[in-house]
Subunit: 324 residues, 2 copies
C-alpha cells in the first residue's frame, strides 16, 4: 500500500496515470492556499470535472474504505485538504460544511499568522488563538484533521496539546537533518509521536539535506533516525510533490493577496521558482525508489510497509469520522 | 410511514417534537428562496446547529435508508431543497456541490423567470433555457430532483420531457379543484404521472378550495380524483406548512431582492401575510386527520399508506443517487 499525504501538482491525466504506475493508492491533495470559501468551492468543482472525466484513474476519497476500493479497482483515491484555514473565513460553521464536501486535512496556518494559529515565517508566535481553540474542538468533532506543516513551534505544540484527537504534520522533515524553517524540532516531533500523531516526510528540495542533490540513502537514514525519535507507527510520506507547476503558482503560494511585494519564501531572488526534484523522486512513478531505499537502510518488510502507506491508512481510518 | 415533501416552518424544538408526535418520518425542508450560494451555505450551517442540538429528534437525510433509520430510532429525517435555483448562481458545477451537501430537490424557477425556466407569475413562458437544459442533465447525473412547483406550464411540460429521470411537483394541487395560479392543469398532471413523476398535495390555504375553510372531505375527494388522473403510485403529500413564520418571511419569499415594490403574490393588500391554516391541518400532529380522511373517502389501507408516505419513499429511493 502506498499513500502520499501531500501533493500539489499541475493535475493532468498524465499525472493520474503516473500515480497508478507508481502504485499510489491514495493521495492527499491541496485544494486551497489563500482561497476564500467560494473560491475553494470552485477548486472542488475543477476536481469534480477530473473525477467525471477520468473515473478509470481517480475518484474522491472520503474514508479509509476508499483506499481499499482504490486498490481493488487499480485506481487512486484523492483526498482533499487545505494548507491554510482561509476557506473557513471567520465562520466556525464552515468546518462541518467543508468536511461534508470531503475535506479531510486543514492547516491552522500557512507561513503567516492566521485567525487560528501562527505560521513558521512570523517573528513572534503567540500560540493558538481564541478562535483557534474553538475550531480545533470543532475539527475534532466532525473529523477534520489538524495539520501543522507550515505552523510555528509554539502554535504546533499547543495544537498537539489542545486537540483531543491525534494531529498531523503532513509534509515536513526533522530539523536535525536539515535546519530549514519549515522543518520540525525534536521537541515537536517527540510530542507529535507521543500524542499518536503522524509526520509525513517531504521530498520538496528545500526540506532536504543538500536540496536537489540529496541522496536516497541520506533520506532513508533520516527516516530511520526519526523512527527512533517518534516511533515506527507515527511516520509516513508527504512528498509535497509540485509536479509541472509554473513558477506563478509558487508565487501565489507565497504571496497570495497578503502583500504587494515579492516574498521568496524558501526560495531567493536568484532562484525564485520551484526547485528541481532529486533524480530519484521526480514523479509518482518513483515511490519504488524510496521503498528500495528503506530496505537498504535496514527497514524490515513490515516497517517498510508501514512507512510507505500502512501508517497513514490506520490514521485515515480513525481520523475522518465524527467523534463518538 | 409518513413523509411530507415540503415544509418551511420557523424551526424550533417544539416543531421537531410535533413532527415526532405526528409520526412524520421524513420532511423535505426548504433552505433557500432567493439566497446565493454562500447565503444558502449559512442556512445549512443553521440546520447543522439544530442537528447537533437535537439529535434525539432530527438528523439530516441523504437517501431512503435514512427514512428507515428515522423509523427505527423514532426521529425525523430532514431532507434539504431549494425553491429557486439562485444558490447555483450561473455555475453548473455547483449542482454537484449542493448535492454533496445533501440538497435533494431544486425548483428550476420560483414565480419569476430564472436562468433555467419560467415561473408561474410571468406573462410569457418561453420554456426551458439553454442553461436550463444543461442543468437538467447535470441534475439527472448527480441525483438532484427537478421540482416544478412554482414554474409555468410550458416550462413544466418541457422539464418533464427533457428530464431523463422522473421529476416532482412537491407542493401544489390540481387546478380542476382550485384554479390558483400555482395549481396545475390536467395536462401537466397527466404528463407528470405518465413520466413516473410525483405530485405532493399542498395544504397551504391559497392552494385549497375555500382556502382556510376547506374541509378535509373536499381535500380527500380531490386526492381521489387526482389518483384517477395520475395513478395511485404518483401522489403524496407536500404540505407547504409555514408554521409560526412572521409575515416578514412571506414578504422575503415573494419579493426577495428582485423588486423595490411590494408584491403580494397569492395574498393581497388587505391580507398580505400568511393565511390561516384549516383547523384540521395546523401542524405536524395533524397528519392523522388526513389519513382518516383518505380512509373515509374510500382509500384502501394500502392506497392510504402510499399517499401518506409510501410513494415518496420509493421516489426518494430511486432519485437521490448518481445515475448508473
Amino acid at each position: 500500500m502506498r499513500i502520499d499525504a501531500l501533493q500539489y501538482c499541475n493535475w493532468s491525466p498524465e499525472i493520474f496515470r503516473q500515480m497508478r504506475q507508481g502504485q499510489v493508492d491514495a493521495v492527499h491533495v491541496t485544494i486551497a492556499y489563500h482561497e476564500n470559501f467560494r473560491e475553494m468551492v470552485a477548486r472542488i468543482e475543477e476536481w469534480n470535472r477530473w473525477f467525471e472525466r477520468y473515473p478509470e484513474l481517480i475518484f474522491q476519497g472520503f474514508g479509509a474504505g476508499c483506499i481499499d476500493k482504490a486498490r481493488e479497482t487499480q485506481r487512486t483515491a484523492i483526498f482533499f485538504g487545505f494548507q491554510n484555514p482561509s476557506p473557513i473565513e471567520d465562520d466556525i460553521g464552515l468546518v462541518e460544511i467543508v468536511h461534508r464536501l470531503g475535506v479531510r486535512f486543514m492547516q491552522l496556518s500557512y507561513n503567516n499568522q492566521s485567525l487560528l494559529a501562527t505560521g513558521c515565517y512570523e517573528a513572534e508566535d503567540p500560540g493558538i488563538t481564541r478562535m483557534g481553540r474553538e475550531v480545533i474542538r470543532e475539527m475534532n468533532r466532525v473529523g477534520l484533521v489538524i495539520d501543522m506543516s507550515h505552523s510555528a513551534e509554539r502554535s504546533t505544540l499547543e495544537a498537539i496539546e489542545l486537540s483531543q484527537r491525534p494531529i498531523a504534520i503532513t509534509h515536513a522533515n526533522p530539523s536535525f537533518w536539515e535546519p530549514a524553517l519549515r522543518n520540525k524540532s525534536d521537541k515537536v516531533l517527540a510530542a507529535l509521536g507521543e500524542s499518536g500523531g503522524m509526520l509525513g516526510f517531504s521530498l520538496y528540495p528545500h526540506h532536504l539535506k543538500d536540496k536537489g542533490q540529496c541522496t536516497v540513502q541520506s533520506f532513508c537514514d533520516m527516516v530511520a533516525r526519526t523512527a527512533d525519535l517518534m516511533g515506527i507507527d507515527q511516520i509516513g510520506l508527504g512528498s509535497d510533490l509540485c509536479q509541472s507547476q509554473p513558477d506563478s503558482v509558487v508565487e501565489w503560494m507565497r504571496v497570495g493577496r497578503w502583500t504587494k511585494q515579492i516574498d521568496y519564501g524558501e526560495g531567493s531572488k536568484s532562484a525564485p521558482g520551484f526547485p528541481a526534484q532529486p533524480s530519484w523522486f521526480e514523479d509518482n512513478r518513483h515511490f519504488g525508489n524510496i521503498e528500495a531505499g528503506l530496505r537498504a537502510a535496514g527497514f524490515s518488510d513490515q516497517d517498510t510497509a508501514k512507512v510507505m502507506g500502512g501508517n497513514w491508512y490506520r490514521f485515515f481510518d480513525r481520523s475522518f469520522s465524527p467523534e463518538g
